[in-house]
């Protein structure tokens, strides 16, 4: 059991940082409080370093007792989580306490711990990231459940406190109740899985499936788990909250919502599906038929519903929310395709992991633009973040940095070559074709074309429209770091595409699927009756 500690160093570092941030954020002196974001960053950097150096992968996984079907996933996933979290951090600057700190700075008010949210905000952010890291190295259903909850619970509060408007609170409540429903559904699924196999350990469940076959109860458990996780990734039957919550939350938090729960959901989905494997279906290498069918329908619906509804929106933020649904659909194609023969072009798991990174980077840029420009309120109240398409008019001329970030990021989200989004989508294409899912590839292709509709608008508004020069014309908001986050993302869209090969190699290793890990007890290996290896 002590071997498990090897996985936890990044989480431990983050937890220690969380404690410091909690104290710092409540400090009486404003500079000290403002330092909490920097401490967050240092903590995340430390976690990134520790993820690279200490997280076991390959053969060391078995010695340390992690889950052994996807031995390479944890280090890659942790690095990508820490990296995107580092990008998110500057974007979150100034989300809370802006008015309060302004009052203190101008001498209009004094510090009141009851009115300060900074400590909570940043520590919840770190808690959520810690939870996400824990999802990546889960080897047990209970661990997985707790990690998923640790990821989600702080985000409910972050949504509610992200803005002083009532809309944010409404969004928080909506998100919380639907989140609880989702959690209940996958917990029920986990319980059925336990009932079917008598264990909560993922390796043991895998062994049980290999030796005793997959019972109907287990299938039911898997289906419920997947449906529950659909809430996390915002896939179709559980997608209703997305637009309202993203719109209600401030843009920075919305960017986080588009990445953190989605990553948690996909990692968890891969871990759970790894127990049945991609070799027990009727095809040469596919999931068991009920699961494949379920995911197929979910993927097709998610892509289509997300894209079609995104076209209909007049709010850029809601459009991005629906597009985030559509992107989940794209990634589900990779999940269905499975590991193939392990090479990058055929490995759907690698494609999903690579896409998560790409999506995290490019989507962040789009939200960063909404967050870094604001419209002054006509009555002198709190300025409003950009929301509708109209607000983006002529941004390239009035705010070149934000405008061009939007142009680049929306083109990348569209999948326009040679930007990052294209190289994310290509392996999804190839892996799905490799798995013989040609109809799904066509659905994916047609959806990419539908998406062109709104991404084009998102690109054309800042680049080609006349800027508005009214009194409520957008102005740069005082948080330079948000624009910096946007720049990072826009740069990432280009730089990561040019040097994508390194990432592709890493994600190939990360997506390696071991159908019959060595941890299997001798008994389990001799009576393999159901599953046949793919090739």
């Amino acid at each position: 059991m002590i071997g498990r500690l090897a996985y936890l160093w990044p989480e431990i570092a983050l937890f220690a940082t969380t404690c410091i941030v909690m104290v710092l954020g409540l400090s009486r002196s404003l500079p000290m409080r403002k330092a909490s974001a920097w401490v967050c960053g240092i903590g995340l950097l430390a976690a990134l370093g520790l993820s690279i150096t200490t997280t076991p992968s390959g053969s060391t996984v078995i010695a340390s007792g992690g889950q052994a079907m996807l031995p390479g996933m944890a280090p890659f996933a942790k690095c990508l989580i820490c990296l995107v979290a580092l990008f998110l951090l500057p974007l979150l600057a100034g989300t809370v306490d802006r008015a309060e700190e302004h009052r203190i700075a101008t001498g209009a008010g004094v510090f009141n711990p009851l009115r300060s949210n900074r400590a909570e905000f940043y520590s919840f952010f770190l808690f959520s990231i810690t939870g996400l890291l824990l999802v990546a190295d889960a080897d047990n259903l209970i661990w997985l459940f707790l990690a998923l909850e640790l990821t989600s619970l702080p985000t409910y509060i972050m949504v509610a406190i992200s803005s002083e408007r009532h809309r944010a609170q409404e969004a928080g409540v909506k998100y919380f109740f639907l989140g609880a429903l989702g959690a209940a559904v996958f917990l029920y699924g986990f319980a059925l899985l336990y009932g079917a196999t008598g264990t909560t350990n993922l390796n043991a469940i895998h062994e049980s499936f290999l030796s005793r076959g997959i019972s109907t109860m287990a299938i039911a458990g898997l289906i419920l788990s997947l449906l529950g996780l659909c809430f996390k990734i915002a896939a179709v039957p559980m997608h209703f909250y997305t637009a309202d919550v993203y719109q209600g939350a401030s843009a920075g938090v919305a960017a986080m919502l588009a990445f953190v729960p989605k990553t948690a959901g996909f990692l968890a989905m891969l871990l759970i599906l790894a127990t049945v494997g991609w070799s027990s279906g009727p095809g040469a290498a596919s999931l068991p038929e009920p699961l494949r069918l379920l995911l197929w329908v979910i993927a097709a619906l998610t892509m289509t519903v997300g894209n079609v509804l995104a076209v209909l929106q007049s709010s850029a933020k809601r459009t991005l929310a629906y597009s985030s649904i559509a992107h989940s659909g794209y990634m589900l194609v990779g999940v269905i395709a499975g590991p193939g023969d392990g090479s990058f072009t055929r490995n759907g798991i690698s494609a999903v992991l690579f896409y998560l990174l790409g999506y995290g980077v490019m989507n962040l840029g789009a939200f960063a633009v909404l967050a870094s420009v604001e419209k002054p309120a006509s009555d002198g109240g709190e300025p409003r973040e950009l929301d509708s398409f109209d607000d983006l008019r002529g941004l390239c001329r009035t705010h070149p940095v934000s405008g061009w970030t939007m142009v680049l990021c929306s083109l990348s989200l569209l999948g326009m070559p040679p930007l990052l989004g294209f190289f994310g989508k290509l392996p999804l294409f190839t892996s799905a074709i490799g798995a013989g899912e040609i109809p799904l590839v066509l659905v994916l292709g047609i959806n990419s074309a539908i998406a062109a509709f709104y991404y084009l608008r998102l690109m054309a508004m800042p680049l080609l429209e006349e800027p508005s020069f009214r009194a409520t014309a957008p102005v740069d908001n005082p948080f330079v770091s948000r624009r910096f986050a946007g720049l990072l993302s826009a740069g990432g869209v280009i730089v990561l595409a040019v040097f994508a090969n390194l990432l592709m190699k890493e994600s190939t290793a990360a997506g390696r699927y071991v159908a019959r890990p060595e941890t299997a007890s001798a008994g389990a290996k001799t009576e393999v009756s159901v599953a046949q290896d793919g090739r």
Binding site: T345, P418, L426, F429, T430, L442, G445, S448, A452, L464
Partner: protein, 592 residues
Amino acid sequence: MNPDTTAPTPDAASLLDQWMLGLLVLVPLAFALVVAFSPDKRARATALLGTLAAGLLTVVALARFSWSNGAAFQFEHDVHWLPSLGISVSMGADSVSMLLVALTALLGPICVLASWTAITERVRLYFVSFLILQAAMVGVFIARDIIFFYICFEFTLIPMYVLVSQWGSTERKRAATTFFLYTFTGSVITLAGLVYVAWINAGMAPGLYAGSGSWTFQIATLQITASQHMTLSQQSWVLLALLAGFAVKVPLFPVHTWLPLTHTQAPTAGSVILAGVLLKLGTYGIFRFAIPFCPDAFMHYAPVIATLCIIGILYGGLICWVQEDVKKLVAYSSVAHLGFCVLGLAALNVAGLQGSILYMINHGLSTGALFLLVGFMYERYHTRSMKEIGGLAAKMPVWATFMVFFVMASVGLPGLNGFVSEFLCILGTFQASDKWATGVWGSAGTAIPGATAGNLGPWYALVAGSGVIVAAMYLLIMVGKVVFGPLKEPAGHGGAHGHDEHHGHEDAHATEAHLPADLTAREITALLPLAVACLVFGVFPAPLLSALKGPVDQTVALIDTARQIPPPGTPSTQTAAADLRTLEHEPKEASR
């Protein structure tokens, strides 16, 4: 991106050869960057310099190209990029590519000259888009890797979208969006088809024929795989996917609806590039991918494709006949002309293919020039309606001379360029029938000179030929109205600027005062090279035809092979390769 370091240290000349094509793409891009950061005032001159530099480089490339060996890909160079995905930036050009690159390079400076006064707002963005477009188009023609091809193919959309939607006429937004969505949708499906071929290639055992067992997107490798190891039904599906993108781009009959709208709304230079080069991306795609990848399927479905072309020829022609708007007329005439071009491809014999490729060049020259002329007229009168203008020969004799000249070239007057290619396309169609050999039309057993096997024949040629008459009709009617006849100018022209009906974003009122009645020296400079080219290619087509002989013969040989050896999967003759292939893939597909 690491340059290929395995090559031995080359001398200067071979280093130039190696990087020639790369430079052709990079030079416009570099100038785009310069323009982006130079003041508005100098943007025009910088852009002109950029296109001229690219043109000069193209001349060097044309001079160093070995034309006697036109079928071989020259200046080949690989830059490794994403080996995990099997993608590399791989370049090479045969004579077809070289000619189209030359056409692109020729139109570059001409377009910059044509937009000198027409573009007054956001000049930098305009020329940056234009230079990027230039680079992307050259990239399409020199790509030897499917993904590199696709990147360039797609990337032409963004600058074109920007050009149309920013500097177009009144309905420019809708036109730009229609253009983008149409072509993007088509090309995504094309990508799916190409990736499918790559997958088939990767699935073949290593060492067996072209199959390498790993993913590659090299066009040369995939072409062998696709043409030799795919069953007829697989080829048909791939052909359908490829045509989804290319037919939209050409455009062929049922998917042509974006073209008139986009053309009429685009700024002049945008129309010139669109007609001159962008449409050729479609026909080039058919020549480079659709035919060599799926020869059996293409042969099989040639009558269908030819029928669509002929419908396009006649339908486009008839629409031109009733057109009031001169620019729309030229746009619809493109639908008809490109119909001939694809018809030549569908003939699949030497005459047809040569004629078709020549048609790509010639249409670019003459229709490009027509769009220029219409644009110059529009800049002066702010209308393109034949109801409002007429008899301009009296006012603009130089313009009128050019107009008549290019209309003649476009109609196919013998002695000018259009005639040669149109004649060859129809001749190819005429010859392409099995019935010549079986004695239905000729005498059985005796070889009719020039007759080839194929699924088309005299009937197709006859109907398509009637399109030539229609073309003569509508173009001459247009010339009669606009150039000759009594002088008619829009009300308010020359006096107060009351005429605002067609006033789009391209606000030429400010510049109108500076334009004399007839063409300026700048405008004549833009037209003259095109006129010279039209004349030269009309009188001496032989050098071009012999340059094209290599690639065309190669394609015809491929088709002949396909004719003799049915593709794997055809029940009668299953080769060993087909057996192997079937063994590998069929069970999996059957289980789906």
